[in-house]
């Protein structure tokens, strides 16, 4: 059955289009491994920084009826220990692995890239969502086509692995950012990272629930935003897209694929449906394919591309 879900991503064959995204169950080799064993076709490490980070004090997770907010604070064991976990994973599994990395300046991204070159990872993903660094126009890194171009371009020069640019949804024009990444040489795009941020308030104690106050939204609440940005990007670029944001069942995954994604991330749904979520969604995709008469994943059609991808909003 699972032969029907095989697909290729940048020349590498994966057994399922489902990807464990950065930040989910990926602090340890064993977390990556259990996800792969449960049906993820590809896994991503936690975003690694040069030095270890303990993250925020917490609460770092808040649940609301439509999804999650998180203010993890990019906790990670640092690039050295993080890559060691990946290498240990690769010794036990042939599932392709993306190493996600984070920095807030180009120099650090380059340093990290050179570390990654010596690892067993298959792909290098740049988490380009830093909200605290601004470009020369006062635009945050994640929303600045110049910064995104600069970083991707520099990393591409040094990286021995294919480079995936992970984009933030919190930008004015995703096409600007996506095409900047493409022009700079990104081999693929991954979108979307968390939306917002947002906040929740404990009305009895009159305090923000998260510590620090704000956290990015993930889960069902962001799916329509993700689909729109993926579709818009798909219409404008020629590199493959890993689509994610709120995918919880097989129908959501099909929507992502029709919007233009080659692979589909499943993050928050690990909470809703357990670590078995990958196999569950694999089955649901097959079921939809059966009902609709598609025998192979690649037969699933995509939406017609937007004619003018930038000008998307009518009134």
């Amino acid at each position: 059955m699972y032969n029907r879900l095989k697909t290729k991503f940048l020349g590498i064959e994966v057994k399922s289009p489902l990807v464990l995204p950065a930040g989910i169950m990926d602090m340890s080799f064993s977390g990556l491994d259990i996800s792969a064993r449960n049906g993820a076709g590809m896994v991503t490490s936690k975003s690694l920084t040069l030095e270890p980070r303990s993250g925020h004090k917490g609460p770092v997770i808040a649940e609301f009826e439509s999804g999650l907010l998180n203010s993890m604070g990019l906790c990670n064991p640092g690039i050295v220990d993080g890559l060691a976990e990946i290498d240990e994973f690769k010794e036990r599994s042939d599932t392709p692995v993306i190493v996600s990395v984070f920095a807030n300046n180009t120099q650090d991204f380059i340093k990290i890239t050179n570390r990654v070159n010596d690892s067993k990872a298959d792909f290098l993903e740049l988490n380009l969502s830093c909200p605290n660094v601004y470009d020369e126009f006062g635009i945050p890194l994640a929303a600045s086509k110049n910064k995104v171009y600069e970083i991707v371009n520099a990393v591409k020069r040094d990286s021995e692995l294919p480079v995936i640019a992970k984009l933030s949804p919190n930008v004015l024009n995703i096409i600007d950012i996506a095409t900047a990444a493409e022009k700079a040489g990104a081999d693929a795009l991954c979108l979307i990272n968390t939306v917002g941020p947002g906040m929740l308030i404990d009305i009895k104690m009159v305090k923000p629930v998260l510590f620090p106050k704000f956290g990015g939204l993930s889960g069902p609440c962001i799916k329509p935003v993700a689909l729109k940005l993926i579709y818009q990007t798909y219409s404008a670029v020629n590199i493959p897209i890993i689509g994610m944001g709120g995918v919880t069942d097989g129908e959501d995954a099909i929507e992502m694929i029709m919007a233009g994604a080659i692979l589909v991330g499943v993050g928050t749904a690990v909470y809703y449906r357990g670590i078995e979520v990958f196999n569950k969604i694999n089955k649901e995709i097959i079921q939809f394919m059966d009902e609709s008469g598609y025998s192979l994943l690649e037969e699933i059609p995509r939406l017609e591309k937007l004619e003018n991808a930038t000008q998307t909003s009518d009134l």
Binding site: G23, I24, M25, D26, M27, S28, F29, S30, G31, L32, D33, I34, S35, R37, K46, P52, R53, S54, G55, K57, G58, P59, V60, I61, A62, E63, F64, E65, L68, N70, M72, C75, N76, P77, G78, D81, G82, E85, R92, D202, K204, M205, K207, P208, V209, F211, G267, T268, V270, Y271, G274, I275
Partner: protein, 284 residues
């Protein structure tokens, strides 16, 4: 959806110099071994095992150890706190002859367990170890239960010197048999120990420092057991991956904190290392 609950601290009890029990009036649907995530929204949300849970209230028993627990110790009855949970796996409720071995703040969740085991009809033997008599947790509470109960300190200020593991070893190896004895409150439930009526245990439960359980594991032979383990927890809902244990990748916040023998035996990291808030491995 797991709704957050914010409510006042109903009761604070001083257990030892650095351990307090916080009680909340709330109908919590919890099983022994499960934990809550507790916060005051001032920075820090931390896991604590449920040390008692009745129809309309529940408690956690906390050791003052760092920033959060120190701030928690400055709270008074009537102050608001917020929690989510109960989370995680729970102990199997047996109705046979069972042994509970506790150390440190691992003892209180075993009290909650003992009560539920009794309700199920089990024959419960509890070994409660501490450094000194003063550090002994829930001593009176156990004595009030209708069980065989052995308390022991490293200092020997209760009579003999020992640890909960040294006692458990003897019990498991049938060198020692607990017998009912008059307790503090002159009820016949509380017990000390003698050398008659050797029996076999059907199930072993333990909670406490991982070193202690690692030690205990040596004497378990083919008895079935469950241990309550701890790892650094952030999300407590099984997505951040901070609490996974190698090489299984299971999450102590979901598949744990109570793990069955079969799983514990497969853990290469058991008693060796855990991961800190950054995910870095730290030796025990």
């Amino acid at each position: 959806m797991n709704k957050r609950v914010t409510l006042t601290i109903a009761k604070i009890e001083h257990e030892t110099k650095d351990i307090k029990t916080f009680t909340f009036y709330h109908k919590l649907d919890a099983r022994p071994g499960q934990f809550i995530m507790l916060t005051d929204f001032e920075g820090g949300e931390k896991p604590f095992s449920i040390s008692d849970c009745t129809e309309n209230e529940f408690s956690v028993t906390v050791k003052k150890i760092g920033e959060f627990t120190t701030r928690l110790f400055s709270k008074r009855e009537g102050d608001l706190m917020s929690f989510r949970g109960a989370y995680g796996s729970s102990f199997f409720i047996s109705n046979t002859k069972v042994l509970l071995v506790g150390g440190g703040y691992g003892v209180p969740p075993l009290y909650f367990l003992a009560k539920r085991l009794l309700k199920a009809g089990a024959e419960v033997v509890v070994v409660n170890g501490a450094r000194t008599e003063e550090d002994l947790l829930f001593d009176d509470k156990f004595k009030e239960l209708n069980i065989k109960y052995i308390n022991i300190t490293e200092k020997g200020d209760l009579g003999k010197k020992g640890t909960s593991v040294s006692i458990a070893k003897k019990l498991l190896q049938n060198q020692l048999v607990p017998k009912p004895q008059l307790g503090n409150n002159n009820h016949p439930q509380a017990g000390a120990w003698g050398r008659e009526n050797r029996e076999k245990f059907d199930f072993l439960y333990a909670a406490g420092p991982e070193k202690m359980m690692k030690n205990l594991q040596k004497f378990t032979g083919d008895i079935t057991y469950e241990f309550l383990l701890e790892r650094y927890m952030k999300c407590a809902i099984g997505i951040c991956g901070n609490c996974t244990v190698d090489p299984l990748g299971i999450r102590l916040c979901v598949e744990g904190p109570v793990l069955h023998k079969k799983l514990v035996e497969q853990l290469t990291e058991f008693g060796k290392y855990h991961r800190d808030a950054s995910g870095k491995r730290i030796g025990f």
